[in-house]
Symmetry: C3
């Protein structure tokens, strides 16, 4: 890219064309039709969601319908679903004029991504060798939502600077990369990562940051007037924050083992997040001269604890262990917003709109490390013989693995997710740099005006402020008359 | 109505009186007291919510409390509950000054409607012939919420144009009609309609449209200034959209068969809705010169897939089948907003505030047709022998019914719901036309001012814009002084 | 306090210092570290969330993981969690400029409170005498959330008038008092109070009112301009209202008996709340000259039914009984806002920002009375022999208790909660009166400006109103030029 000739440069910096009337519908239609065809070829109901389940039940001596995995996982699934669409969507509405893009594009790419994720994850994890089919159930839906989460995290880094077509491309490649790194980490390395500290957050974070680096806009200050929040947009963002925060225990427990596995993951995440809130508030208050709190910290850093417990939530990290993780994550994440984000932007030229480095990438890495350490430190005295086997799934090919080895593989998984994020993001970023995707000009970033039909606000303000403004207008006109009359009077008089 | 004499005309077009201080409290009190009396006579706990359940358990050899239907249905119930109150309520907040009415009246009529629904549905579906009592449990609550949904859909057509008293009357008759058509469709015709494509959406849609037709306001343009949205009201509406969208899998699976029935309905609805989002975005973008998206489409048409899978969600429609339904619903519903709504208003004189024709009526009819076709095409090879019997409930009087016959009855059910909607709506509309209900004048439609004490906004703006405005005012006054002084100076000098 | 000398008076009325840069971080850090240490010493996973559960299962002949208490309680827990953070948080956003404080401080104190509650409730209710440990599971998390609810109710009374440090202190003592009164009421008196009419709402209500009384501000009118709502802040508050209203059935059923106990509590609460909405609307409409509705009533009084059924929700109060309770609560609570709140402020000098007296204290007392009466009236013919024992837990030391005695103890419990609230609140209020907590001056109450970095609204308005305002500015400047030119012209001419 550095040796790009003048002609090439001109090509890249020509007047931006944000008309997506051709590309967006074409991408949506073609990709959706492709999904239908691929689903037709590959995807089927699994045995618990098929009408033949009545036979399966009889065969397996299952006495009650409540044994269907649906009843173990559906409440968690719905919570995760809310996190994906309302949580991520509203968290990004904090910008004064990008709420439509935040919620709307989040909606679009998640809806595409979950379909593609069912296919990609199916091919890698659950393709039946005999029938060549992928059998899906409620756990597949949760995994698809998880996969999408990685891409939505990446969206946070480029919020307001890309077109919806670019976001769809990002999601297509993001989901693909996700499925591969997930396969390597969970299946080949046999690392545990139920809540996705590594697989989801670290990968998603670095994927987004790398893309943002490649798409660096030196003149982004031209849209500085749009980069802040307003009072109500910050309140909207708190809806996202709270739904993420409240349902994070479901996120980290959604696909853990039935019974004590889900139970423990919930308790750990609940405690960890509570601890994070206090230290976030403390650091936020410390960072201002008069101890005032900053909404950016409250909206984001309070969530870092959930990210950092993604790997270890199902382990016997013990309640106070969860509190300790939350304690440090609140501090580190808030410090990230204060010190690291400006540094990243100035020095590394990474413009990170939502600060995903502080909310996902860094806490994700912490989570990976915490997971590796707690796995390596696991012992039969704490877990029980069978408990240890269940928790780390030391069965089949891995039945002889020691906890120390497991710790090593956890750490290796961490590295895989970083590499996939950075390298994948760099490549995808280069693709997104092509001047065909309809991205906005530097001075139009963070503005819904570019991709959305906006309501006629002027009319609103005429509605809601008439008394004062009309008074002003009235005064002005009266005065103008007065001045004019003065003028004429003078002329007359002189 | 056409032969109405001049005196009658005058009576109808006299100055509107929107004072509801007498009618609203009277209706609320009298109806609520009636509910208490009727509940006292008829409604009792069913055996799973009664303290005698401990005996029932022993008698039926139920070993665990988890077998209580509560644990199968409660998570779905809560999701449906959120859809009714937050989903429908916030979806309608898009108007710039009707958010209080949207959320508040939705709250009121749903709260009344669910009580009346428990009685009406109880009398028709579950009146115990021996005791003369209606026994209710969690499934009854879900059904009551469903019944209310039909009336809230109808509210969407008349949003902003009617008084809360009219809405309560609409709900009283709506629930009554609902219970009857539901009895005919589900019990007499033995059609399947777990998510209510026909029973809820088609009926509710046409009921509302017919009422809106009868209440046609030729001079509605007089309140045109209030008909648009503003930036934040559109963001509020997205809260409604997303909660409806996310929880629609629970809606369509809430009362399906335990086990695989609920499981499959969730998967189908989840996929169908994802597909709808992509085609909605595609058509919305295509409809604008520069490919910009329209919030009206994103808020509404993205939901059409859930409506259209209401009947077939529990069938073995297969994952790609669900995607196909969603694909076409997104297209048709968005096209409806672009082409059909203006046509309905101009030609058929149906003023449909929220476009329920595109979101509920049309997709509901599609859902009925999809249900009829997929039922007729069901086969033992796909469903399994017992699976087919379970899914279509071919037991008792209906044990010899073939799938083809079932398809026919499904189609017949479709027609019943349309007839009940149109005819019922026309009759109820005529009742609502009586000039006693306190409806707003044409120039006051879509304005919360009529029925709500509004906060003093002027003060707010003095709060939030003082720097600029005060500056302006200041400048004006200074100038005025200047001008005046000029004037005097002139006089002096001349 | 009355005999306070002049010097003391001066000390108390000196210029307010709202700088909390030292106190807030110190309190957050020290308390969080204390939590970690205490958790390390005392808190462990219970047997259902421990990896040893696999052994427990084998030992107790539990055949399925679904028997884990997690699956009975987790959906209810998540609903309660939403009520605590989104429900209470957004309910208080109604003030025009205190949304950050409402949601943000609610978030902070709930996060601290739930940790402290796990310890306090653990010490009083479930400290294992042999190991000296507290074993926690999902029910402990629900109880911790309940305990926090009491403090959040109290926050409603002092909303906008205290600093976050004061709120943390209030929560520390509030949780402590809560655990003690809960121990007395539930364990010593053996009263039933699953939804906490007495334990949570009555205590929390009077605790907050007593604190507010002690912190009485005679010159609060100086911040009158900030005390109202604006259109969108009222809409935000409805998010809180609806999530509280919808999930209240989960609140009242979250810790009731498995099976019919949870099932019945849901039905009762659902019906009771529906009834409350209608009478709230009726009284609200009656209270205004033209029958307009008041948002304050709709936001708050509609919830009174849930509070009042907190004790009796699990009893066989029968569906119509639930409706009757809701009927009267809507009336009484709305009347409270109209008549009692102004009286409390003028005569008793209790400034109750959110009207918690009408929403929690009064309905809580009603709930206690309803509980006592329905307990005393319980009979074996209605409950069944075993049902009666199960419902009132007439086992162990209490196996000979009669329902009449139970009714008496319920009433005694009621009194205990009031005494703890009033006396505890008075003492804590006195502590909060110390001039070291950074509370705002009378003229800065209800203003986020004091404790939050606010977005630069001026810029927003320049963004959103430019056409008109710039026009104004333009006109003014043009005119000024004109005037000046006039002036000079005159001079020239004269």
């Amino acid at each position: 890219m550095g040796n790009c000739s003048q002609g090439c440069k001109d090509y890249f910096s020509r007047q931006k064309n944000t008309n997506i009337r051709l590309t967006l519908p074409v991408v949506c239609f073609v990709w959706q039709i492709a999904m239908i065809i691929l689903f037709g070829v590959f995807i089927r109901y699994d045995e618990e969601s098929d009408t033949h389940w009545v036979e399966t039940k009889a065969h397996d001596n299952i006495t009650s319908d409540i044994e269907n995995d649906f009843y173990f996982r559906y409440p968690s699934f719905q919570d995760v679903h809310v996190m994906i669409f309302v949580g991520f969507g509203f968290l990004m509405t904090f910008l004064k004029r990008y709420s439509f893009g935040a919620v709307g594009f989040n909606f679009l790419i998640a809806s595409f991504g979950l379909q593609w994720a069912l296919l990609m994850q199916g091919w890698f994890h659950s393709l039946d060798p005999q029938t060549g089919k992928i059998f899906i159930g409620v756990e597949s839906l949760i995994n698809a939502d998880f996969c999408v989460a990685g891409c939505l995290i990446a969206y946070g880094a480029v919020l307001g600077k890309v077109s919806p077509v670019q976001l769809l491309v990002m999601t297509l490649f993001g989901v693909t990369l996700f499925a591969v790194e997930e396969y390597i980490i969970l299946n080949l390395l046999h690392a545990r990562d139920a809540g996705g500290s590594m697989v989801i957050h670290t990968f998603g974070g670095y994927y987004g940051l790398a893309i943002s680096r490649v798409l660096y806009r030196p003149n982004l200050h031209q849209s500085k007037r749009m980069q802040g929040s307003v009072y109500h947009s910050d309140t909207f963002a708190m809806i996202g924050t709270l739904f993420l925060w409240m349902f994070w225990p479901s996120f980290n427990s959604a696909i853990t083992d039935h019974g004590d596995g889900q139970h423990r993951a919930v308790i750990n995440t609940y405690l960890c997040l509570a601890s994070t809130v206090l230290t976030t508030v403390a650091i936020s208050s410390l960072s201002q001269k008069t101890g005032k709190l900053d909404m950016v910290h409250i909206q984001n850093s309070t969530l870092a604890g959930g990210v950092a417990l993604g790997t270890a939530a199902e382990f016997m990290i013990s309640p106070y262990g969860a509190l300790i993780v939350g304690f440090f994550c609140g501090i580190i994440s808030t410090m990230g917003y204060i010190f690291i984000s400006p540094f990243l932007e100035k020095t590394l030229k990474i413009q990170d709109t939502c600060g995903i480095h502080n909310l996902h990438a860094m806490p994700g890495v912490i989570g990976g490390i915490v997971g590796a350490i707690t796995a390596a430190a696991a012992s039969e005295s704490v877990y029980g013989k069978q408990g240890l086997i269940n928790t780390f799934d030391f069965t089949g090919d891995f039945k002889d693995r020691t906890v120390l080895t497991q710790g090593g593989y956890q750490a290796a998984g961490m590295c895989v997710s970083i590499v996939f994020g950075v390298v994948g993001g760099a490549i995808v970023g280069s693709i997104l740099k092509l001047p065909i995707w309809g991205d906005p000009a530097d001075e139009n970033c963070f503005d819904d005006e570019v991709y959305w039909e906006l309501p006629d606000e002027e009319e609103e303000h005429q509605e809601s402020i008439p008394p004062i403004l009309e008074y002003n207008n009235h005064m002005i006109h009266k005065q103008q008359d007065l001045s004019e009359s003065n003028f004429s009077v003078e002329h007359c008089e002189s």
